[in-house]
Symmetry: C2
Subunit: 227 residues, 2 copies
């Protein structure tokens, strides 16, 4: 499948590396290709710069957001929350319209210190903002409740017996994404929460996720819904 | 143990009924005793009025918030979020100071329709507001992530293999509450998230809880943290 992935950070690397290794035709999109390639230092969490990481994943090509969107049958938004809307605008609505957009971005606000607050919540969500700005894009919010390495390998934890959520207005798009998440990564349990307004639920789970990360001492965890 | 429980709704009934049945000396506090006893109609969810419910739990006494607080060695705040601070103020700080307050209240805002939004979140929480308003009270936020019947009987679900959280500034109070939740109700797994600011995490989980309730068709569920 031809897939465009926005974002060169931890999430973009995890998703693009896994999909390219599985034979998909992946272009990662960034704001400025030369600037991205010029960065070689690891980030604050010790995660490698894209240019260093890419040496181990030569099948993953890098382009502009527009290059990635034009190439794609399906787009994954793995930018940080602050850059999500501008990345999508730069890619061009005409390159996105009619396509499924898997939105993983999290609207974190670091301006008030750690742990971060959210830049949008409660009566709106980033997922809804994206859907409103691009009404012809089939936005499916998902994967935003787990750490990057778990997104692409849920079976590494509790034999995959834990849950993921999808939110979106397009039922067929959500069903297709759920099938892809199972086929690509091995996700066993996906709960359809409803329309894109339910992205408020998973985005507002992040503050609890961040405190659990602190309490557990690892980001490699997830929740299993028991009923 | 002498326990004061603020709130005559679903949560107050579940907690006080269970504790009184276990031999604890319970007074439930309300704003206006005569008004509470005059109500006989079930609420919107079909839950019985306190006056009707109390006939099956004659050991549970009803008093004012101040009666309940004066009586109590330990106080449980099971009011709705909108009434929490005024209930505590009516009970009198001098009747609360130095005591543990288990705060279960949820800051739901129904003014914008269903599902409710939160009246405080992101950079503050109701738990923090209560702790700031009553600095000498040992506030422990907990039980606010599950439905009332599950609070007092976690073993009815998945053999109790699911999680509860505690938040608070007083480590000894949190440890005592965790022991009490195990002894009173059978809670097996309690995660200490940190100080009272971590109540933002569990309070902001409510929007996801509400959507899961809709998706699952039952409120009788919880999350198990797998790591």
């Amino acid at each position: 499948m031809k897939i465009g992935i926005f974002g060169t950070g931890m999430v973009g690397q995890a998703i693009s590396g896994k999909l390219a290794s599985s034979g998909h035709d992946v272009i990662v999109g960034t704001r400025d290709v030369a600037s991205t390639l010029a960065h070689t230092e690891p980030n604050l969490y010790g995660f490698p710069a894209f240019s260093v990481w890419q040496k181990e994943y030569p099948l993953v090509r890098l382009g502009t957001f527009a290059d990635a969107a034009r190439h794609a049958e399906l787009v994954v938004n793995a930018t940080n929350g602050a850059g999500a809307l501008s990345a999508l605008q730069q890619s061009g609505a005409s390159n996105l319209n009619g396509k499924i957009l898997i939105d993983i971005s999290v609207p974190l606000d670091f301006s008030r210190g750690m742990p971060p607050a959210l830049s949008v919540c409660n009566t709106d969500s980033l997922g809804e903002q994206i859907q409103r700005a691009f009404p012809e894009v089939r936005v499916v919010k998902t994967l935003n409740t787990v750490t990057a390495s778990l997104m692409v390998d849920p079976l590494q934890l509790a034999d995959g017996e834990h849950h993921l959520f999808v939110s979106g207005n397009d039922a067929a798009a959500k069903a297709q994404v759920a099938s892809l998440l199972a086929a690509w990564f091995g996700w066993k349990h996906i709960i359809d929460l409803g329309d894109i307004t339910t992205a408020r639920g998973t985005e507002m789970y992040l503050p609890l996720w961040l405190r659990m990360w602190g309490a557990l001492g690892t980001g490699l965890f997830n929740i299993r819904v028991v009923s």
